[in-house]
């Protein structure tokens, strides 16, 4: 049976793509951010996940405001990136796993999530940058992208995204193939690009979010979306992707590593690695 080995939260700021293309990982500006992935690379080399379910938000590459799903699940065997219009290099395509996608889609709809199913889906920097950060040598696993609307309000609540993640976690555990699955939540943490409050960053709130994510994610569901905007910034709502990632970890969760650095571009950049131990296995031990 499939199992979820852990979850990773990571920032997906577009300029990271440029820094990678220009090999700036060791520059003084970038080093505190990139060096935060060393521990993650070591863990990934040990654990070797076969598939990654990636929760992220589209920034106007695949979806436009004409039809904007709250939750969309990719169901393809390949996901291409394209020109996003703001000068970051176009990434190579990511491999998909349509069989797992359809299994998740069945499970999600059965659990009351009326998701949009996408046999064609372009993935933007919110997917490709995390893949490049986690597997810099290019040995990416197959992915199942799950897109959450963080662009046009009303957005789904923190509680709903946690539930979405749980439904994904349950569906993965019912998948008959013997595969190791990693879940990834991308974006954030606190930042705001627009308005007179542009440049807003909230270190205290980010720290609280990361602390609660492993210990007590339910506690974070007390924040409404407008309050989340107020505390995390207008684009800090990408934390919804992290909540979904956390929800998918239905076993015993422990934090293995975190890195937090201000600023990368206009953003508080964060990396969080959570291990997920199946409860049954723990009892047997």
């Amino acid at each position: 049976m499939a199992r979820i080995i852990g979850g990773i939260g990571t920032t997906h700021v577009p300029s990271i793509g440029k820094a990678i293309a220009e090999k700036k990982q060791n520059d003084p500006y970038w080093e505190p951010f990139f060096s935060g992935f060393n521990a993650v690379h070591k863990w990934l080399a040990q654990e070797k996940p076969d598939i990654a379910v990636v929760f992220s938000n589209d920034h106007g590459l695949n979806f436009f405001l004409d039809k904007l799903p709250t939750f969309a699940v990719g169901a393809a065997n390949e996901y291409r990136n394209e020109d996003e219009g703001w000068g970051i290099p176009v990434s190579r395509a990511a491999k998909g796993d349509a069989a797992l996608s359809w299994h998740l889609i069945e499970g999600l709809v059965n659990d009351g999530f009326d998701i949009t199913m996408c046999q064609e889906m372009l993935v933007d920097h919110a997917v490709t940058i995390p893949l490049n950060l986690l597997w810099p040598k290019g040995d990416w696993p197959a992915i199942v992208p799950v897109t959450i609307n963080t662009v046009q309000h009303p957005l789904p609540s923190l509680a709903r995204c946690l539930e979405l993640g749980r439904a994904v976690g349950c569906a993965v555990m019912g998948y008959p193939e013997d595969v190791k699955v990693l879940v990834v939540g991308t974006g954030g943490l606190s930042h705001q690009l627009d308005g007179r409050r542009a440049g807003f960053i909230n270190k205290d709130f980010d720290t609280l979010c990361m602390d609660q994510l492993s210990a007590d994610p339910e506690a974070l569901t007390r924040y409404t979306i407008p309050t989340l905007v107020e505390l995390a910034g207008a684009q800090g709502v990408e934390f919804l992707n992290w909540m979904a990632m956390r929800g998918a970890l239905t076993g015993t969760v422990s934090e293995l590593h975190r890195n937090y650095h201000i600023p990368i571009s206009n953003t508080a950049a964060a990396t969080l690695l959570l291990a997920n131990r199946p409860r049954a296995q723990r009892k047997a031990a």
């Binding site: 405001l65 219009g85 046009q152």
Partner: protein
């Protein structure tokens, strides 16, 4: 009732409806050919997408606060800003009335 957040415009149904033509034009800038067509004849390009007079004036002014007021969403506006070679620090500085250097210092200060 709408929740008021200082210096922040929630991109909700009202804004999305108001800004539709502007955001649709900015969405087209994913294509290099369209970016070139805009640069070649900005007036004609804006007309093709049916921008309102307010949106047209906001585009002409390159003023991000005016573009947001006209219904622009920042992820789409970033594609427009990219045409003029402006990154998110440049637009952050413009919106807050700071120099780019001071804006970057403000960001760094948030980490201390």
């Amino acid at each position: 009732m709408r929740h008021h957040i200082e210096g922040t415009t929630l991109f909700d149904g009202e804004q999305a409806q108001k800004g539709y033509a502007l955001n649709r034009m900015c969405f087209s800038f994913n294509s290099a050919d369209n970016r070139a067509a805009f640069l070649k004849d900005e007036e004609a390009y804006c007309a093709k997408y049916g921008l309102t007079a307010e949106q047209r004036a906001a585009v002409q002014s390159r003023n991000v606060l005016a573009l947001i007021e006209a219904g622009g969403n920042v992820y789409y506006l970033a594609k427009l800003a990219g045409i003029f070679g402006l990154n998110v620090q440049d637009i952050g500085a413009q919106q807050t009335g700071m120099t780019v250097k001071a804006f970057k210092e403000k960001l760094a200060a948030a980490g201390r």
